[in-house]
Amino acid sequence: MKRNVAGDVASSDSALLHGAREGDPRALDELVALHQSSAFRVALGILGGEADAQDAAQDGMLRALKGLAGFRGDASFRTWLLAIVANEARSMLRRRTRRRECPLDDELPGELPVGGVAGRVVLRAEVARVRALLARLPEKQRLAVQLRVDEGLSFREVGTVIGSSEGTARVNYHHGIKRIRGWLKE
């Protein structure tokens, strides 16, 4: 089954937005359910800590939903929402002075056989490690990779959220991926 997240989300969004603007609580709930994980990931990418990310994502989503009248449809609803959440997370970050760094476990059991319980442990460690490397990237690269891969945003939409042009978003994305691949080879 195709995911086609962007298309599906966009079409369901417009119906939900209509309901949400009319104050239909079910439409609001559905919008939240559809976008909460994206909002959380974006906030996590900026703040680095799960509890802070949850706060920023919640506050950002609330702010967006209360300000639905301000959504003019120039961007997709998701892009607009994620830009608001990113702003919320950045202002929280400014109050916190610095991003919470994520400790990395570089000691991977690379020589273990891939099979049995050991294989599963290696697999888990490897998957977690790839994701952890994301946290090492500078913010714009990290967000560009996250928004492009996790959320399926176009480079143009990525640019809207990180506050850059489409071209800069693309460059940030490719640099980010290149660095992660470089670290994986170390």
Partner: protein
């Protein structure tokens, strides 16, 4: 398609968002291009490991929605280590071909292809650590005693 054209589309391919015809073109390129293939593996891994919103977040928003925005932070539900926040998405499959190629596709099981055969991996056995302590302690955390014993034996062998 050239490698740079493929590279632009790979995130959509790795997360299965491309239309069938375009997906087939990308797959054809990947068959003959080691570099793009390696990149697809990394993207597929990133995608399946993406975190989900912590339990209770939607409820907090709904609760705060009617009242005032500030109340939301006070009613926060702190996610614990093993909350779904870091569980892999449910319809995910990883195929690891010894250390390098990971192909991600929709399905219910996870398979690990290796030199010593294929090992099915239950999704519940794959855990992404909380961002506070990535890839460290929690990796062994949810193994049963029996699995831990088996692991010790494997390592000793």
């Amino acid at each position: 398609m050239t490698c740079p054209e493929i590279a632009d589309r790979l995130p959509d391919w790795a997360s299965d968002r491309l239309a069938d015809t375009e997906s087939a073109l990308v797959a054809e390129h990947l068959d003959g291009c080691e570099d793009c293939s390696a990149q697809a593996s990394v993207l597929g891994t990133l995608f399946v490991a993406r975190p989900e919103a912590p339990a209770g977040m939607a409820e907090n928003i709904a609760r705060a929605g009617g009242v005032q925005a500030h109340s939301v932070t006070r009613e926060r539900v702190r996610p614990s280590w093993r909350r779904p926040a870091w569980a892999l998405p449910s319809a995910a499959v990883l195929v690891f071909a010894v250390g390098t190629t990971i192909i991600f596709r929709d399905s219910q099981t996870i398979e690990v292809a290796s030199a010593i055969g294929e090992v099915p991996v239950e999704e519940s056995q794959i855990w992404i650590a909380n961002d506070g302590a990535v890839a460290g302690a929690p990796v062994l955390d949810d193994l049963s005693d029996e699995e831990l014993r088996a692991l010790v034996e494997e390592l000793g062998a």
